[in-house]
């Protein structure tokens, strides 16, 4: 599991530097934002001169999934003290969430588990990004490492397609983002997110 985190972290570091933002800004982004998909996407947008507000809007849509994790983890953590919940909020990540849910299925109090997994993933991620930033300049462009970013998103999204409604959400999102490609400044992602959600909910309703 950590191997996947490290691989994606290195790729995110390489991709950010390759798109032209300063190494220091890339590392600071990793520490503050700590969300790989949005970091790679916004580094591309920033280097092409996209206005700040649109970069932030794109970040919101890409990271909207954390809100779903937050809503789901609330079931387990709503009675923890506020300072713990403030920390847990920062540590939520795709794989930490997945692991915690699996664990919570047969253990009642996953607080220590979440904290352990969260800190391990966080540390592995930061070290991997730093390594990616450092080697970013050294890897020849002919290796085509920038293609690893979409590959990492494929690796994250395909295993989620476990039922028909989820497949409907993904397929409609893909078709929408392609059809709306002409929209300026990645607004196509927002359109695809909304269409995908609607398709998933509709498919869920039709199946019942």
């Amino acid at each position: 599991m950590l191997l996947g985190v490290v691989a994606f972290g290195v790729i995110a570091g390489v991709a950010m530097v390759a798109s032209g933002i300063p190494p220091l800004a890339a590392m600071l982004m990793s520490l503050l934002v700590f969300a790989g998909a949005s970091m790679v996407a916004s580094a591309q947008l920033l280097s092409s001169g996209t206005p700040a507000l649109l970069v932030i809007l794109t970040t919101i849509f890409i990271n909207l999934r954390f809100m779903m994790y937050s809503a789901s983890l609330r079931m387990h953590f709503q009675h923890e003290p506020l300072r713990w919940r403030l920390l847990f909020g920062y540590l939520i990540a795709d794989n930490v969430y997945g692991l915690t849910l699996m664990r919570a299925a047969n253990h009642p109090a996953p607080r220590e588990f979440f904290l352990g997994a969260g800190v391990a993933v966080w540390a592995a991620w930061q070290i991997a990004v730093a390594a990616g930033i450092l080697i970013g300049a050294g890897v020849p462009a002919s290796w085509r490492l920038e293609f690893a970013a979409p590959l990492a998103f494929i690796a994250m999204s395909i295993p989620m397609l476990r039922d028909r409604a989820m497949v409907a959400a993904a397929v409609v999102a893909a078709l929408t983002v392609i059809a709306a490609h002409a929209l300026p400044l990645k607004l196509s992602i927002a359109a695809a997110a909304l269409a995908g959600i609607a398709a998933g909910m509709l498919a869920e309703k039709l199946e019942r």
Binding site: V33, A52, I56, R65, G89, F147, P150, F153, I178, I189
Partner: protein
């Protein structure tokens, strides 16, 4: 300057999304409709990020390598293997096509 402000904005919205429901006081129920809608966000958004990178790439090799990566991810569900298979096929198709 704009870069740093943008970073700060990204950090704030991302933390806000992460912490959102965790910071609500105990006892408040998440509306069922919101929970149902949020369930589809990760699959929809992640797919919307990679699909254009395959379809609108300059050559055909990205699309072909992407299809291989999708098959590998579907079959084995391993991040690292998927990335390796995708990169290897990219170079293979580049050489072939």
């Amino acid at each position: 300057m704009t870069l740093w402000l943008t970073l700060l904005g990204m950090a704030l919205v991302t933390y806000g999304l992460r912490a959102s429901f965790l910071l609500l006081p105990p006892g408040i129920e998440t509306p069922a409709l919101v929970r149902r809608a949020l369930r589809y966000v990760p699959a929809a958004v992640l797919t919307a990020i990679w699909a254009p990178e395959l379809v609108f790439a300059p050559g055909m090799e990205q699309l072909a390598a992407g299809v291989v990566a999708i098959a590998v991810a579907w079959r084995w569900r391993l991040t690292f293997v998927t990335i390796l298979a995708g990169l290897a096929s990219l170079h293979l198709f580049h050489w072939l096509l």
